[in-house]
Symmetry: C2
Subunit: 410 residues, 2 copies
């Protein structure tokens, strides 16, 4: 018998309890193991008086620590008190499963080290990618192949908004309102739309897939709030969609990571991921690209990922695998040459196209829109981000343009 305690009984917590109950017979048949719920920690115990599991409920964390539970599942969210609870649980040599992306992104390296120290497992697959079981896949099935890069569409809220903007020609504001009405965005959506939620997930994915420490502060983060309708129109004209892409690239001597809007071909693996769907792609040595996609969030996918984390502990009970993380150098630009969609604006005088082209040495530029002489859009191929950035800033210094933005084309 494996005993588990739940910290928190919200949407996900109740989903975990349901999934354990629903599968108890098949778990016993297949794995010869019964999963028992020992306790459920809640803040207000009175609220749960009519729950058929009421006798399991407690409002004292001491009850959890002193119980004989093998696994503590944290589904309360937020940094405090989850952080202290998880630390105490690991120190009490209990395995821990968490779906708390804020916590893992911020304190993951410390908690992983603690799990290693006390020879217990810390599983956090549910904190990223919803039901897409990318982590176990990497840890076991693809263990023999170094990962060159990991790329994802990791935030359902922004993907829903971008899909609405693209498909229904909505402005950002209207698409956000639509997402809020449909329950896909919170009333304060800033963590999603500014890219921080995706960045936390990218940090976790990098922990998991590369065993490397990537702090959120080391990720270049640009959300979707600066996208305008013209960005969308140009994307459509060129056969592209705009997606909030999270990517970590493992170079020989450094790691580069970003979350930003990227132009992807409409009929590509990324272009097909719409609305609340997520995708994770990995580029592996000797193996090439692999893509995994599915629903990114919600009660069932998250509970399902936690259940997978339980099975993982249950199956590996004699061996604890929370790999040590390596520290790495961060580089702040994508290395090598890429293609870009560039938009330059001038608030005052019209843009002097000749001057712009001269600065780019008349390189591989294709003008896409210049109907309004204050607003120039073009694609440029095979140029490094570093060089692109330098030229644009020179144009700004010389007042040829006043504002600019550019998108990587994937």
């Amino acid at each position: 018998m494996t005993s588990v305690a739940l910290l928190g009984y919200g949407t996900v917590g109740s989903g975990v309890l349901e999934i354990i109950e629903k599968n108890s017979r098949s778990t016993l048949q297949t794995y010869d193991e019964f999963i028992n719920i020992s306790n459920v920690l809640v803040r207000n115990i009175e609220k749960h008086q009519n729950n058929k599991h009421f006798k399991l409920f407690t409002d004292s964390y001491e009850d959890i620590l002193s119980s004989n539970c093998d696994i503590v599942i944290e589904v309360m969210g937020g940094i405090h008190p989850a952080y202290d609870y998880i630390k105490s649980a690991l120190q009490a040599r209990k395995h821990v499963i968490t779906a708390n992306k804020d916590l893992i992104a911020e304190h993951g390296d410390e908690l992983i080290a603690l799990a290693n120290k006390f020879h217990v497992t810390l599983n956090y697959e549910a904190s990223v990618g919803g039901s897409i079981p990318v982590i176990r896949t990497i840890k076991e099935s693809l263990a023999a192949h170094p990962i060159k890069s990991v790329t994802g569409i990791l935030n359902g809220t922004t993907n829903y908004i971008l899909s609405k903007m693209y498909n229904e020609n909505l402005s950002y504001d209207n698409a956000l309102k639509d997402a809020q009405d449909a329950g896909f965005a919170e009333s304060d959506p800033s963590s999603d739309v500014l890219g921080f939620d995706a960045a936390r997930k990218l940090a976790i994915l990098t922990y998991l897939s590369m065993n490397k420490v990537l702090k959120v502060k080391d990720i270049l983060i640009d959300g979707i709030t600066n996208l305008d309708e013209k960005d969308m129109i140009i994307a459509k004209q060129l056969g592209y969609k705009i997606k909030l892409i999270s990517k970590a690239i493992n170079y020989d001597h450094c790691l580069h990571a970003f979350v930003k809007p990227v132009y992807v071909r409409s009929n590509s693996m990324y272009g097909l991921i719409d609305n609340e769907y997520n995708t994770v792609a990995m580029d592996l040595e000797d193996i090439g690209e692999m893509h995994f996609s599915g629903k990114g969030a919600g009660k069932e996918p998250t509970a399902s990922a936690i259940y997978g984390d339980i099975l993982d502990i249950l199956l590996n009970d004699k061996k604890v695998i929370t790999p040590k993380l390596k520290q790495v150098k961060i580089c702040h630009y994508a290395q090598g040459q890429h293609d870009w969609l560039v938009r330059l604006y001038s608030l005052n005088q019209p843009i002097n196209l000749e001057k712009v082209l001269k600065f780019f040495n008349h390189g591989n530029i294709e003008i896409k829109d210049f109907a309004d002489s204050h607003d120039l859009s073009f694609t440029i191929t095979d140029i490094s981000e570093n060089k692109l950035f330098d030229i644009i800033h020179k144009l700004q210094d010389l007042n040829v343009i006043s504002v600019s933005k550019y998108f990587m084309i994937l």
Copy 2:
């Protein structure tokens, strides 16, 4: 230490040896386990005299059985003597890993029962989908959710041929020749192009994902040899591609499985899988559709899958999980209503369109091509396969048409 013996030392066998060597340090670091090669069984031992591992080579299976190896890896292919070797290994209580799809498709249920009887593991992930680690994902991460259907593009040879026919307007014969020249098709390609290879993989995938026995003889199999250039032209005109789709559907009271050419939208997850790539999609209760894609075959992907199977045994060494298979009823038509692309030919008199439409009750039919009055192409929506089949056969009986074919639209 875990000791493994290899049966066979061809492309895959040498790949497995390389991957074990290359990862020996990281395996030790991450899993605290050293993987040792105890023996390599080959037919002609003289041929390997210059191999640096020569002392491991043997031509006697008795040496393997009497060795203290924990795991026997069968990569020799073919039914005999692999079948007898695997049986003896299981009876000697050794775990077995095989990449042999012919063997598992034919004798899988018997070998799985034998593994269960002797409390050892039989892993065969490498026999299907190359590097796509779909099986472990299902067994652990998605264990809580019944699988409603599994759909795949499972054969690289036919997918390569179909990609060539579509992209370069080649005839079937020329595309096959191209595939043979490029090393993607064998000189006798019948097992691939007639659909049998995909059917074996579908049987295995059904074993693995649904724990249900599906025999190859119970799969409706239609290969790609009957496709002509016009099928391709019509597909292109309608925005579709033709893919050899393998699908098993879990109905309430029966299982339906087919391998056949299907029209899929060009800009769909299936439409994007070209050339030697494979994909597996699953529809899970509460979770929805998940897609996994990657390279389907080749030395590295297959060796990688076998290495994953080794890690699986190594990590789960105290618990043996080769789930028992259930017998199920097979149904011979897809249930429910689907959309179809229908082509009717008449060898003698022109086709009487009015008669055809009357038989279909002027249903949801859209004529796509009737320029040649002997060759009618149309789409029809929302009709069961059963009914479609009946009507077409009535038209044949009445000599309105002489030959026909139809494709499911996915």
